[in-house]
Structures are given as C-alpha cells and as structure tokens.
Symmetry: C2
Subunit: 527 residues, 2 copies
C-alpha cells in the first residue's frame, strides 16, 4: 500500500505540507496517491541517521551485506503485481518492460551480493616489511577499499526500477558499505515507495542498522539541493539530464568539502555507417535502426540520435528507407507530459535550425502523450558549424549527417561532446581503412560497438556505461556493472598495523580467502 510518506530509515514520516501526485500518461490523468515532500527537518534527521549508521554499516561483513542485497531482491519480487501495476500507471510503459526491468534490477542486486560474498573487490594490496633494508627499513603496508560514507541517489525518469530506488547506484553503494538516501523521482514516487518498503523490510529481516536506507519525496529541486549540500553526505549518484546533473555537480564542487558526483547524463550516441556496409545492407540497417530509434519511445540514454554516412546515392537510399520504415512503427507513450513537452520543444529547436530537413515525421493522429517519431538530415558542413544541432533530442528522433568524406566525418566526430556510446557499421575489413575516424570516435565515447545498435546495456564486468563529459561527470567510472562500486569507495592504507586489529581482508591468514596483490603478485595465499 502506498502511504505517500518518506522513509527516514525504518520510520515513515510526513511532517511537511507540500504534496504532489504522480501522473498516468496513458490515461492522461493524475494517479490517486498523495506524496508528502520531505521537510528540512526530515532531511537533516535522515542524513544524521545515515552518518550515525555508517559507523556500524561500514564494518558489516560482505556475507551479511549479501544477505541484505538478496533479501531486497526477494522483497521486490514479493511486491509482485502491485509493483508492476504502479510502475505502468506512473510511466506509460508496457507490462513487459516493467517485468524486464524488474528482472534486471533483481539481477543487479544479486550480482553485487555475489561480489561482496567473494570479497576480492576491495583490491587488497600488501607489501610486507623488510626490516633489514638499507639505508632504511621497509614498513609493512597494506591497503584496501573502504566506503566513503552516506551516498545520495537521484533516480532516473526512464528507469524507475533499474536506475532508481534499488537500482544500480543503490546496489553498488550498499554493497560498498555506504548508507543510501534516495531522492525519490517525482514521476514515479509510488514505484519508489513500494521499492523502498521492500528495502526496509529486507533491512529489518537481515538485521541491518536503522538508517542504512532512506527515501525522501520531493517534487521540486529543494530536497535534492539540501541533500547535496549537507556536510554528512559524502557522494552523489545521478541519472538524468545534463542540466540536472551539472547543477548537482556544481553544488557539490562548491561545498566547503567538495564531494564526488557521478552523474550519467546526455548522449546522442553517434553511429558511423561506412560506405560498403551502406551499399551491401543499407535496407536492412534502415529497418534495424528504425526499431532502435523508437525502442522504448526513444527514451533510452543510448538512443542513436546521430547517424553519419558519406554523402551519395547509397546514403540517400538508406535515409529514404529509414524514413519509410520508421513511420510504419506505431507511436508509443512517453513517460510524462513534461517529457513529451521537452521532446516536442527540443525537436522544434532542432528543426528550426537552418539546413536541417525533416525526412520522416509520423503525421497521423496519436493519443495524448504519445510521441511522433522523426528523422531529419543535414549536410556535414552545416552540422559542424552549428553546435545547436549537436544537442540531444530525448525521444524517438534521429539525424542523418551527410559527410563530404572520411576526413570531414573524423572532424565532426572529434568536435562532438563526450558520448556514452559510438557505433561503427562496417563490412569485413572495411573499418581498417577508417582508422582515423574510429580513433576519433574512441576518444569521444565510453563504449564502442561494432555492427550493432547502441540501445541495450549488458550488465557485466566489462561494460562501461559513462564516458567523457557530458555523457558523465567523471569518465573514470562506470554506472553499470560490478566496477561501478568503485565510485563509492576510497583506498585506506595500514602501516605496521597489528594483525589482530587489521580488517579481515588484510590479515596474514586471509580468512576470507580473497585474491590479493602480495608483494606485486596476485595470490589467494596466506602470509
């Protein structure tokens, strides 16, 4: 049952008088539940509780954290149909997507549980003493990762489960030993509360300290601002717009004690279609890309918003085919009237630029909040000269850039802002003739894809979801996969520390049997 209250640790609280509702975009109606925004008092109470809890939670063994993470997964599944229904009513997304995303969310939680049970993720590094070294004895020094402290998570509008309340950021932070405070996304506050109730149940069931997780409601920016500025908060995870992510980054950077903000933000995900590929399978590519551009109503951060080819007959045929294919696809609902509003205005901004031509625009009637997919095209030179054309249009929109030649393509790629992904479509052996273009692409993105589509982010250790700014605020970290835990930890060194008071990860006898770097050798042996 949705109460509309905040979770301050295990306690529900609603002291404020600012309330709001979520919206069902398919029905074009407000949902019934009323949510109460957190007050300054509640925010302070939450952060203070998290800071206090951190002292205990940071030392909880991996096996206990894993129980907690697995229990969260179980409790999310136990929410069953109620969660799926609320999810759909708050997003306009279909049930299949809801279930798929729930599966991914549960999978992420269990992956982090496995990671902390295994335990080697702490990167234990040991250099043993050399007491008789000349001219100075060498101390025993040991190092491992320790959690940063309370982490604030801002969920994504487009992933109400996998990148929100119990999503990747939360799972990684809890696995690291950081208490989590979620700033609930206002568009899916009900989904957020249900998932929060699952986390709280799991925390109580596995005897986690009160305050390991909190969920604060907010319809505007005030709650988020106060959280990021609170001295007790030690790091921030965010998934959303460049404007939102940058605002949080700026706040965090201006603090007396600056804190890291990992914001995964905008991307237009350039796709380079090389000439032979265009020639050999332009028609098939047009069909594949029509589907990728409209997948999830274009609301994936990896949506291909920019397709680059070399000008000519084949590119024209591809463009015509893509334009023809995409309007055959049934339009679908966007997440919220604000999201479709932004889609329409960003599209207007793009198409009002001189030199941009619309080649496909779904023109039949559509239901309210359903998005019309659009394909546009522009000359390479025009694109290069007008940075407005480089800006993301979040939704089922893409732009085909007709480059003069490979050199111009390379220049365009190298002048793009940082991107999450870059894709190369190539026939066998063709890519090696475009090594400068591909090198330029690698320097601008976090992930390069060969002969595929950028939509779809596999959750695996080798996934990098992030990239040069503004794809993310720090290209040195990923938002997806086990290595995303590194955002929330720091190394701590112990010099000549007695074995009995060392953390288990660093003890001589290696009681956790983890892999460690001992005197520059990877090993699971004791000392």
């Amino acid at each position: 049952m949705i109460t509309g209250k905040n979770y301050i640790g295990n306690n529900q609280s609603a002291k404020g008088n600012k309330t709001y509702k979520t919206f069902n975009p398919k029905l074009n109606l407000e949902n019934a539940s009323v949510f109460t925004e957190a007050t300054t008092g509640e925010i302070n109470e939450t952060v203070n509780l998290a800071s206090k809890t951190f002292k205990e939670f940071q030392n909880i063994p991996g096996i206990k954290k894993a129980e907690f993470l697995n229990a969260i997964a179980d409790e999310i599944l136990a929410l069953d149909d109620e969660l799926i229904q609320v999810y759909c009513s708050e997003t306009g997304l279909p049930e299949g997507r809801a279930k798929g995303e729930r599966g991914r969310t549960v999978g992420q939680l269990r992956t982090f549980a496995d990671l902390v049970i295994e335990g080697s993720w702490v990167e234990a590094t040991i250099d043993t003493a050399i007491p008789d070294r000349q001219p100075m004895p060498k101390s025993d020094v040991r190092k491992m990762m320790v959690p940063l402290g309370p982490v604030v998570v801002f969920g994504a509008s487009n992933f109400p489960l996998a990148y929100s309340t119990a999503g990747g950021d939360t799972a990684a932070a809890l696995a690291a030993g950081c208490p989590v405070i979620v700033k609930s996304h206002p568009m899916h506050a009900g989904t957020g509360e249900l998932v929060s109730s699952a986390i709280i149940k799991a925390a109580q069931r596995t005897n986690m300290p009160n305050g390991v997780f909190s969920n604060l409601n907010s319809s505007g920016i005030e709650v988020g601002v106060q959280l990021v500025e609170h001295p007790g908060v030690k790091a921030v995870g965010f998934t959303g717009s460049i404007r939102g992510g940058r605002a949080l980054f700026d706040l965090a950077s201006k603090r007396e004690e600056p804190i890291p903000v990992f914001a995964e933000m905008g991307s237009i995900n350039p796709v380079i279609i090389l000439p032979n590929a265009l020639k050999e399978r332009g028609m098939q590519l047009a069909s594949t890309y029509a589907k990728s551009i409209t997948l999830g109503t274009g609301q994936f951060c990896t949506n291909p918003g920019l397709l680059l080819g070399i000008k000519g007959e084949e590119l024209t045929s591809f463009l015509n085919e893509l334009s023809g294919e995409i309007v055959k696809i049934e339009p679908s609902c966007m997440l919220h009237p604000n999201i479709i509003g932004a889609y329409e205005s960003n599209k207007d901004r793009a198409v009002s630029q001189s030199g941009l031509t619309i080649t496909a625009d779904y023109d039949s009637d559509v239901q309210t909040n359903f998005a019309r997919q659009t394909i546009t095209t522009v000359e390479g030179k025009t694109f290069l000269e007008n940075p407005t054309l480089h800006q993301e249009v979040f939704g089922p929109f893409s732009m085909v850039v007709q480059c003069e030649d490979a050199k111009q393509m390379e220049t365009i790629i190298s002048r793009l802002e940082g991107q999450l992904t870059g894709t190369v479509i190539s026939e066998e052996g063709e890519a090696s003739h475009y090594s400068d273009v591909i090198a330029a692409l690698q320097n601008r993105v976090g992930r390069v894809i060969f002969n595929g589509v950028p939509t779809g982010v596999e959750v695996c250790p080798s996934m990098l979801h992030g990239g040069p700014y503004p794809a993310s605020t720090d290209s040195r970290f990923t938002a997806v996969g086990i290595h995303s835990i590194k955002r929330w930890v720091r190394p701590l060194s112990f010099q000549d520390w007695p074995n009995e008071i060392l953390p288990n990860e660093l003890k001589d006898e290696n009681p956790l049997e983890i892999s460690r770097l001992i005197n520059n050798e990877n090993t699971s042996r004791k000392i």
Copy 2:
C-alpha cells in the same frame, strides 16, 4: 646549462617579457639565472601540440613507453652534480637530501617503466559472447583503461624532484599515455629546467612524438590558470597548499567540460599516544617525535602537527621532554623566504589563539631563513571549540592536545578535517580498548600508522598518499605508488569489436601475456 626558456615540446621558447629569478635561501641571495614566463601564445601552442601528440602517444606500446621512462631516469642521473648543485641552491636543502630525492625520483620512473612493460595495469576485462542466450543473445564486451589526454602537472615546493617536473604525477601520466605539461615551480625553476632537458633528451633518444612533454615557466598564477582553463587539457595534478589546490579545483570544476584535479594538499597528521605507551616509553617517544617534527625543517606534508594524549602526569612529562628535546636540535633552512614568512605568520595566528601555550620555542639566534621549531599545548575542549587551531602550520611546529578522556579524543578526531595520515602509538593489546577512537581516525585519513612516525612515504603498491578533503581533492585516488596511474585513465568498452582491430591488450590471443579478468576469472590465458 640553464637557459631560462620554456620547453614547448622539443623546442625552447622565450617570447615573453616577464622574467624572474630563483632564490638561494641559505645565502639569502637571488640565483643568477633569469627565467622567462610563458606567454598566452606559448601556452596555446603547448596545449595544441600536446593534443595533437596525444593521438599518437596514446597508442604507443608499453615497451616503448618504458624505454622512454627509463631513459628519463638515465638522463636525470647523467645531469649528475650540476643538478644537485642547482637543487641545493634553489631550496636550501642539503646535498644528501637532494641525492636521496633524486634516487626516489629515478626509482619511481623505473617502477612505472616496469608496470607498463608488464602491462596488466590496464585492467583488461573480457566477457565473451553467448549467442544463444535467451531471451536475448549476449554480446562480446571487453574493457580496458585508456589515457585521458594532456595532463598539467603543478610541482611541489618541498619536493623539487620527486613531486615536480619528472616526479610521481609526471611519471604516472606518461606511463598512462598522457602527454604532460609541467607548470614549473617558480622556487626551483632551474632544477625544473634541467630535469626538463633530461626528459626532452630521453624523448628524442627513444623517438617519442614531439610534444609528449613541455615545461612552462611562471612566477605567478596566470600561466597555471590559463592551462587549467584550456579546453585541450584533460586532467590536473597538483601538490601544494590547500589554497592553491582548491583554486585549481574550482577553476577546473567551472569549465564547460569539467576535468579531474587531483590535488594533494594540507594535513596536520594527528598522532594519538595511548596512555600505556605514554607511561612505558614517553621519553623515547619525545625524542623520536622531536626528530620527526623537525625532519626536513618540518617541510613534509606528513609532518606530525598534532599530538593527542589523555591529560595527566605522563602527558605533562612527555610534553616537557618533547619541548626539551626539540630545542636541542639545530635549526635548519626553509625552502624560501616566502615559506618561512608563511611559517612565522601561521605560527603567530596559532599562538595568538586563546588557550594555546608555547612550551618550546628555539630562542637562540638563527641564520636568515632558518626556522625556529616550536611546541605548543592546548586543552581538548579549547581545541575542539576553535577551528583555527586545526589549521596547518607548515614547518617545524606541533601542538599537543590534552584530552579529558578517550571520548573527547574521539570527538576531536571525528571533527578534524581530512588528513593524509593518522598515527596510533600503543602498547601491545592497548589499541583494542580504544576502538572507537581508532575507527574515528580511520574515517578521517588516507593512511593509518601503528607505532611509527608519519614522515616517510614508502613508494609501493599498497601506499595511499591522499585522503579525505582537504588532504586531497579526491580521496578515491593516491598520489604515490603504481595505483596513482588510475588518476589519468578511464575505462573504454569494446562491444563485438573485431579481434584484428582490438588493442593488443584485449585480443583473443593475449599477445602481451597480461593478466585479464575473463568471464569473471583472473587469468593470463588466451581465448
């Protein structure tokens, strides 16, 4: 021979008309060489050259980078006595220290050479495809670290070799594949130019692309500001004051594309002396700490500026002994009149605070620019209530805080700003009775030391030199040891990328024979 010119890659340039000289603090005289500050034109030329060079340098194999790094070490040694003399004339530091620091610098360069020859530092991670996975096939995804781009290094006043021109930041960045631009430290510009000449010789001898290294002179802040704000610069390393590091961090955070700044800054390095240790060996500790506080005229970032004990007879005896011991030590020269000027004024600020008592102050005549060592003491409550007393006094100065009890000691520790180090002095078995104090210490520092002194930073993989702000601007990284390379790299993922155009580190056949994480298993095998 010192020319006073800038190095823009391999070319020497001095187009500006702003000049300056370095200073010999021991002789209290300016040195002869005249240095020409870089102009805006020279700065732009340098960064543009570095950006161009990056395209080539980022792909140079580890074995070639290692040749370059080892050649730098060789060329620094070949500078021989000229380097040592110039070093001493610009710092007032003794020859032994110059030679020791040179050894460390050369050692760091060779360590990074070994690291990139071995090659596993790129953290190659491979998840192989599962084409028949249901409901969706799994792609082949591979990930490795790639360099960020041109890095600007600001050297330290107190480490003219090991943390300056060819110091830890430069060695790590070059090893990573990032071109380096050094903003030469004005206090040791001659040392910097000589080392730069060694780097340039090494670069030419090992056929590195022109622009892999540059050195720009500057006596003020303008050159540094322009470098950090230049869009071609992708990361910054800094060692120095909180004010300087924070200013660069703020500039970098405000850029259109924010870039990471790793600044290693201030620290007062708290030392906790537990009661039994004080009782059993207070006298010996007093002598040890008198030496540690005055080591290098107190000009180490790990200098113990804060000693905490529990009030009582034993602490009083320790304080008296420490005060007696420290004034027996001959005062020594500080790096520069500005440094001793800051020492004196910071000491004045501290001792003017109500409740602080001076217990030792070297009062015989000293030579100009020689520092008088000082010990002070204060009640725990007074220290807790006055944050001015928490500020660093860079130099041979320390404060003994007399805590009421362990609880007050814990409170004091938990309210300190972030520190590089924290030390616990304990008799056997004693520390376990102070677990709250020690836990608080671990949360405020980058390295904890048991029964030692914080001065002395071993260069080894398990060393963490850094810590919570303001010890550094990002506690997730270290400035010392092989893992410091992580500051200058980001992960890049390759999805379904053809084997023949994959980097060698990720190829099926593992031609570099590096250790990789393949399907979650650490292995050096082929695929």
